[in-house]
Symmetry: C2
Subunit: 218 residues, 2 copies
DNA sequence: CGTGTGTCGAGTGTCGGCAATACGATGGTG
DNA sequence: CACCATCGTATTGCCGACACTCGACACACG
């Protein structure tokens, strides 16, 4: 008799799978900024219908990864240096909120410990840019999540895709120094010390540094 | 011969029109929180195909006005008091950024004047709740736009729908005092004076007040 | 009487096709 | 040679139909 409790099946819809497929195709550079994302082409290569791809593309459009060009054709978005700066400014505002809510929470020290643990992922393999990016964004997302504000997390995620294209569109060189554990340590320390204004200043400096790096023309 | 310069035609797609139709149906209370939004029913009453309605619904889902319930069925979202507080906290963070960027800009006084002009709309007809809501949100949106940060505007708009359902779900009574010009005047004055920390404090107080009012159970 | 099974209605998921539109090539014309 | 009408093509907008899943209910069977 079979006692093995059969692994639960993948319940995701085709639309969801198409979404992650197209998103990661963009994020890995398979499609670069400005490239045209044709419904028929994508539907063909993914092996699904146009309608399905369409919904995925609309989702990405709302995510800001894709913009409508002439005749409603969708293309991979290219962020101007100005927009990159704006993006990081908004992130700074959101994460500034996160850090002050975190500090105000009773679980502050526990949260700081979680963040400190997350930092280790940044140290693991500094040469693997992809892993470092995941660790970096993971750290900042965790910061938002620990603040316990679901709307904040949602707003942050709304920016995530644009962050990723921006960072990925740079070569390895730029990203390297920015995603080190050392650069993130002050954030954790600020949480531990619990001084809100100082903590916000740390976040703002962190973001300002990144913004300038990524706003430089390639 | 016709010299009348014929009004330019409506070039919006059916999808866009379906989107605003469904959105305003929700916002005006035609569908209340928890109500089921069936594709077939909507498609029928709007006179369009299911696919078209579907895209509109997905958009609203990303906007946070609609959530997926059992078996993928979409329903109008109901925000908990906790979520309402979170929402206003994020708004405070965003508009805090707006106000400080605005103050830092060289066009500060001109912007303050624009805001002051916008205030008048709030005074026009304090008894018309709908108009007051438009004027209120218009004022805050203008604040973000004047900051000249497109990502900020985008993030703010991402919250807009949820703001509207929250406010509309209250009767006239609650909303009245909150949307007065008098309550918004300190914001303009803070911009004029140009003191960033004070201005942020004003915004935060403004949002905190609104949050507590709308987080009260009905 | 409980349990498992078939059936049915309601809904969403997915698809392929037709229509509309804009763009570019092509060829004709002054 | 410049200009313009025309046609083909690439691409999205929109639709109707079929397939699948789920939950509720009835029903036979032990």
């Amino acid at each position: 008799m079979a006692v093995e409790p059969l692994p639960s099946l993948d319940r995701s819809t085709l639309r969801e799978r198409a979404l992650v497929a197209v998103r990661s195709a963009i994020l890995t550079g398979r499609y670069g900024p400005g490239d045209h994302l044709g419904e028929v082409e994508l539907a063909g290569s993914l092996g699904v219908s146009r309608g399905t791809v369409r919904e995925a593309l609309r989702h990405l459009q709302q995510e800001g990864l894709v913009v409508a060009g002439a005749r409603g054709m969708l293309r991979v978005r290219a962020l101007s240096p100005q927009e990159v700066r704006e993006l990081f400014a908004v992130r700074a505002a959101l994460e500034g909120l996160a850090i002050s809510e975190l500090i105000a929470s009773p679980r502050r020290q526990e949260a700081a410990a979680r963040l400190r643990a997350e930092l280790e992922r940044l140290e693991e393999d500094p040469d693997d840019v992809l892993a470092s990016l995941e660790a970096d964004l993971g750290f900042h997302l965790l910061l938002c999540q620990l603040a316990g504000n679901s709307m904040l997390v949602d707003a942050w995620r709304h920016l995530e895709g644009r962050m990723r294209v921006t960072i990925m569109s740079f070569g390895e060189t730029t990203a390297k120094g920015l995603m080190s554990a050392q650069r993130h340590l002050p954030i954790v320390e600020a949480v531990e010390r619990g001084e809100v204004p100082a903590a916000r200043a740390v976040i703002e400096a962190h973001m300002a540094g990144a913004a300038e790096a990524y706003a430089r023309p390639r």
